[in-house]
Point group: C2
Chain length 273, copies 2
Amino acid sequence: MTQQQLTQAIRDKSSFLCIGLDVDLDKIPPHLLQEEDPIFAFNKAIIDATHHLAVAYKPNTAFYESYGTKGWQALEKTIDYLNESYPEVFTIADAKRGDIGNTSTRYAKAFFEQMGFDALTIAPYMGRDSIEPFLEFEDKFVILLALTSNPGAFDFQVGEATPNLFEQVLHTAQTYKNQQRLMYVVGATKTEYLSRVRNIVPDSFLLVPGVGAQGGNLREVCDHAMNDQVGLIINSSRGIIYASGGADFAQAAAAEAQKLQAQMKEILSNRWG
Amino acid sequence: MTQQQLTQAIRDKSSFLCIGLDVDLDKIPPHLLQEEDPIFAFNKAIIDATHHLAVAYKPNTAFYESYGTKGWQALEKTIDYLNESYPEVFTIADAKRGDIGNTSTRYAKAFFEQMGFDALTIAPYMGRDSIEPFLEFEDKFVILLALTSNPGAFDFQVGEATPNLFEQVLHTAQTYKNQQRLMYVVGATKTEYLSRVRNIVPDSFLLVPGVGAQGGNLREVCDHAMNDQVGLIINSSRGIIYASGGADFAQAAAAEAQKLQAQMKEILSNRWG
């Protein structure tokens, strides 16, 4: 998918919502456990109920890996289903990978070619040659961790000894080959930093977790970080997918997604008229 | 496995060698491709031929993930085989994971409980709450990336703007709960930094990649970073497992492993008498 297609999808759906598919068998409605593949059954129902409200879906690979081969199969079925049924959707593998050159190429092939994701989250610690192999794939995107939404972000990203590491990551990443294929993870729990991020990367898309379960405020995020192409994908996971633990889980998820989408629609119409 | 058991295995085998199982179907002997599971067949042959020379095995998960579900199955079969046939071996999943709390717990369960690895490599960028969940597992270890052996290490770990980030990572990690379960990845291509690392973490085990294919020198590494408990695990991947592309691949791998083990034996006997 191109960035233009993503922006078009945002206009078409009046939404820049991403739904995080962090599937936990202990949290999904119990009746699904009788299905042959409960994880995929859950995802399919959520996707079918929300695809008109969201522009992106983001499975976090940890949840799938924790179920071994079966989890991995469920992840493959989920991305196949998204690509076949809703090709306009932007798909993000939240894998937070990062390794040296030849290994990065392996990961890139796994997620971009074997599975056909549009984007992959990557940790920056290992630097240029751990990131550039991912940037070689046309119409694919790397979403680099810049400022995450967890308390541990203050250890190093905005650390006592390294108060500007997240800004250094943004500056340095601008020098990478094919840097136009970079997007960035920027947590919504620290809106005071969003403007600093936007100053360094005015044109890039930001993937913003932490709206919802982690406490970020949508309007505040948009005030600080929206650009002329919107430039934002706002993720919500648990707040949507676990809105109900009963038989109505998919409708309940759609209702929660609808609330966020309605706010987004209003923000977009104020901006684009 | 406990750290004492690891040290005992090092004494028993006169070796602190780790063999990296980075299996690439384009590089393994072609006759194996007719096997039902070529990746596992390759690993099993390498392990059987080298287990008396190595104290640890380290599959890099990227290589397995790049083959989808089949790769994941081969990884599961490999760790099962190691645990059943050679329980004295220290097993490392080189996964370079790291995510927020509830997701880290998922990863920890996947690698420590489902698959039964002894240790897992973790990237530090997301800080405390992305690492501590892994440290809760008794007799399991986190091997934290401190100073990697790739050129990109100079972007942030020893960056222009953050020249001491790798030392900050070491200092901060000492404050984490259950930090006694931490080991560190320290690249062998920068021996000038090994002493600085050893000053901060005198008692910790260091996993040192980059001896062999990446150019590090074994004796120099030991001079700078060995401690009274040895405190080193030296990894070699391609130099051993791809020593021959023919039917003799396992014997050739054993011969390469033997060369490193012989050097290690000499170093250990000079040290321990």
